[in-house]
């Protein structure tokens, strides 16, 4: 295995996630895209850890997973609340907080 391939894969996954966040309207899909970006980062961490022969990157990847889990819990709860009140999961509709 070549670490460069893993990094390339991570970049591709991250770009897919970022584009997804920017162009999709559904909050659920945006969430999934964010998860994709996080996992792309995790992949990069692990790949670099392997490359340098240290364990730091792998540890950080576990932290990221924990934080992502917590974030998903809170985020999904907010999403549920918004969906209940507005009958919509589109992020473009939730635009009351503005100038």
């Amino acid at each position: 295995m070549i670490p460069g391939d893993y990094v390339a894969l991570a970049v591709i996954l991250f770009v897919i996630g970022a584009v997804g966040v920017l162009i999709r309207r559904n909050a659920m899909v945006i969430f999934m895209c964010i998860e994709l970006m996080l996992n792309a980062v995790n992949l990069a961490f692990v790949a670099f850890a392997r490359l340098h022969g240290t364990i730091d990157g792998q540890v950080i990847a576990f932290f990221v997973m924990v934080v992502a889990a917590a974030e998903v819990v809170v985020g999904l709860a907010i999403l549920m609340a918004i969906f209940r009140s507005r009958r919509s999961a589109s992020v473009d509709d939730a635009n009351l907080l503005k100038y």
Binding site: L22, I23, V91, D92, A94, N95, L96, L97, K98, Y99
Partner: protein, 647 residues
């Protein structure tokens, strides 16, 4: 010190040492205390003192008069060179090198004023008991009048300029309060304000003069300033003289600060008699004569004084000719007569004594004339238009008689007072020599003729001819409380001039302070003959115009000179054009600069910040995805920068 300055023979004044007062003169300060106490009791006592207020108000000036007479008699016991006595009261200000004692200077000049103020003042207070008897605020009136007497005595008795300044402001305050005594009348309130504002101009000059004295001499006492005056140089003396003249002009209603006096007639008539005829308006003359050692050093300042006097004496006389309001006609006359005094004071030692002599007899006859006018006004339901009088001689014989004596005194008919005091002034003006002497003398002589004209006019329109009264007027002779002061003043008006001037009595008395004038050349001179001829001419013209002909009830239309005189010779118009309008422009300019300049800068800054933040706010669209894009762009930029920096 005897010397000649620019051809004028002069004996310099006030070089005499001042001794400490002894004996009864040590209590001279009681003169101030009595009226001050009266004012305090009446003004602080409130309504409780209403019942006896007028008694206190009359008793206090009279008590002062008694003290003044005792002080005067004690003074007569000293030889002429030792009559100036200093009464030390207390240390007033002592800050570093600045030390001012509150002390009274009792000398021949100040005691003459003190006797006039308290004597004539007491009589006018007595008159006011009757005149103000129907006024609910009579107690307050007497409180203010007593305050005035106290301040005026402080003005003339002070032994330094700073204390004199305190009195100067005190009489200004009393004048303001009394002109505006009927403050519910807008005209009275405006007149009071006008008098106050015009006097600010004069006070500016006076106070700068005091500062200059302190800066130059390090002291403000008369002895200190006069002792060093000759060492200060002619420039300083001229500056001091002109600044003091500015102060004198405002207080004494001299051109160009004359405009307030005619409006000041809004005050009750006793006020006009005491403050705006007999005493306060003569304070300017006192200031000039008291500052004689300064004026003696500066020909320029004295020339300015004589010009102001000569212009004002004609100015006031011309205004007096056209006024139908009896009090305003007399006010014009007051301006004119003080013009004579100022003219005399400007002639230096040759005129100081005559200025003061004329001032004293003017106090008698003008106060008497004003009280006569007040009595008439009192009986005619507050009517002051002389076209509505006429024939009052029959119903008010005593008033008419005293007024006639005052008339004879002011126009200067022998042997009445004016003859003895006005003719020496005219003669001294001619004796000044040169073109200026001839001009000043002619002005004074023509003024005498005009005086005869307007005073005869007043007398004829008021007391003779047909009755042109309002239908509801029922005049009677005023009660004795009002006639007795008029009679006493008429006696003074008749005899004071002869008493003072015959045998050089007053000249010898006053000359240690002011310097002696050259010996007079007898009573009947070509100048006095010509003056008397002009006086008779003026009186005859007045009789031809107002005695022989019927007087219309409304003023007939008139052409240029009369119209101008009716409008106070455009004094107010000049003030408006020269001071008021430019002042308004200046304020408008300042307001414009403030609005556009100062505020404009601040407002522009605020508007710029507000506008740009308003535009920047639009970035907060509420669209989450656009935020996400900006975050991404930002992160990419950040990473790019980091990479670049590392390279």
């Amino acid at each position: 010190m005897t010397g000649t300055l620019a051809g004028l023979p002069m004996r310099a004044a006030s070089a005499l040492p001042t001794l400490a007062a002894v004996g009864v003169q040590r209590t001279a300060w009681l003169m101030l205390v009595f009226p001050l106490a009266g004012a305090l009791v009446l003004l602080l006592g409130g309504r409780r003192t209403n019942r006896f207020g007028h008694v206190v108000g009359v008793a206090m000036p009279f008590a002062s008069f008694v003290v003044a007479v005792i002080t005067f008699v004690a003074m007569l016991g000293y030889p002429a060179s030792q009559r100036a006595r200093d009464v030390h009261m207390f240390t007033w200000i002592s800050v570093g090198g600045f030390h001012v004692d509150a002390g009274l200077l009792v000398d021949q000049l100040s005691i003459s004023f003190a006797l006039l103020i308290t004597g004539v003042g007491s009589l006018i207070h007595l008159f006011a008991v009757g005149y103000m008897s129907h006024d609910p605020d009579r107690r307050r009136f007497f409180g203010y009048m007593n305050l005035f007497v106290a301040a005026m005595l402080l003005l003339v008795l002070a032994d330094n300029y700073l204390l004199m300044y305190a009195g100067w402001e005190g009489v200004g305050l009393a004048s303001y309060l009394l002109i505006g005594f009927w403050q519910y009348k807008p005209s009275a309130a405006a007149a009071a304000k006008k008098a106050f504002v015009v006097n600010r101009v004069g006070v500016a000059g006076f106070s700068v003069a005091i500062m200059l004295m302190f800066a130059t001499f390090g002291t403000v006492t008369y002895t200190g300033v006069f002792g060093q005056a000759s060492s200060a140089g002619r420039g300083t003396a001229t500056a001091l003289g002109l600044l003091l003249l500015l102060g004198a002009c405002a207080k004494s209603a001299q051109v160009p600060l004359q405009s307030w006096l005619l409006d000041a007639m809004e005050g009750p008539t006793p006020v006009s008699a005491l403050i705006h005829a007999a005493t306060m308006v003569t304070a300017g003359v006192y200031l000039i004569v008291r500052s004689a050692p300064i004026f003696n050093l500066s020909m320029t300042a004295r020339l300015a004084v004589t010009v102001v006097g000569a212009v004002t004496l004609l100015f006031g006389a011309i205004i007096g000719c056209a006024k139908d309001d009896i009090k305003k006609a007399l006010a014009g006359s007051t301006m004119s007569q003080i013009g004579y005094m100022v003219l005399a004071a400007g002639l230096g030692p040759a005129g100081y004594v005559f200025a003061i002599a004329h001032l004293i007899v003017h106090g008698f006859f003008k106060a008497g004339l004003f009280l006569g006018a007040g009595a008439v006004k009192h009986e005619m339901n507050d009517e002051v238009d002389m076209r509505r009088f006429g024939g009052l001689r029959v119903v008010m014989p005593i008033t008419a008689a005293t007024f006639t004596i005052g008339w004879l005194a002011i126009i200067g008919v022998w042997p009445f007072s004016g003859f003895f005091t006005k003719d020496p002034i005219i003669a001294a003006a001619f004796a000044k020599g040169g073109i200026s002497g001839a001009l000043l003398g002619s002005a004074a002589m023509i003024g005498a003729g005009i005086t005869a004209f307007y005073m005869t006019r007043v007398l004829l329109m008021t007391f003779t001819g047909h009755r042109r009264w309002e239908p509801d007027a029922h005049p009677h002779e005023v009660p004795p409380v009002m006639t007795s002061p008029m009679i006493v003043l008429a006696i003074g008006a008749a005899g004071a001039g002869a008493f003072l001037m015959l045998g050089n009595r007053f000249v010898d008395f006053l000359s240690p302070v002011t310097g002696a004038p050259p010996a007079s050349r007898g009573l009947i001179t070509p100048v006095s003959g010509a003056t008397l001829a002009l006086v008779v001419l003026g009186a005859v013209i007045a009789w031809a115009m107002y005695g022989r002909r019927e007087i219309p009830v409304t003023a007939p239309a008139a052409r240029f000179p009369v119209v101008a005189a009716r409008k106070d010779l455009y004094g107010d118009a000049v003030n408006e054009a020269v001071f008021m309008r430019p002042g308004q422009w200046l304020t408008r300019l300042s307001v414009y600069f403030d609005n556009r300049g100062v505020d404009g800068l601040v407002n522009t800054l605020a508007a710029t910040v507000g506008g740009s933040s308003g535009r920047l706010r639009r970035v907060q669209t509420g669209f989450v995805r656009s935020y996400a894009l900006s975050m991404l762009v930002g992160a990419v930029l950040l990473v790019g920068v980091l990479l670049l920096v590392r390279i």
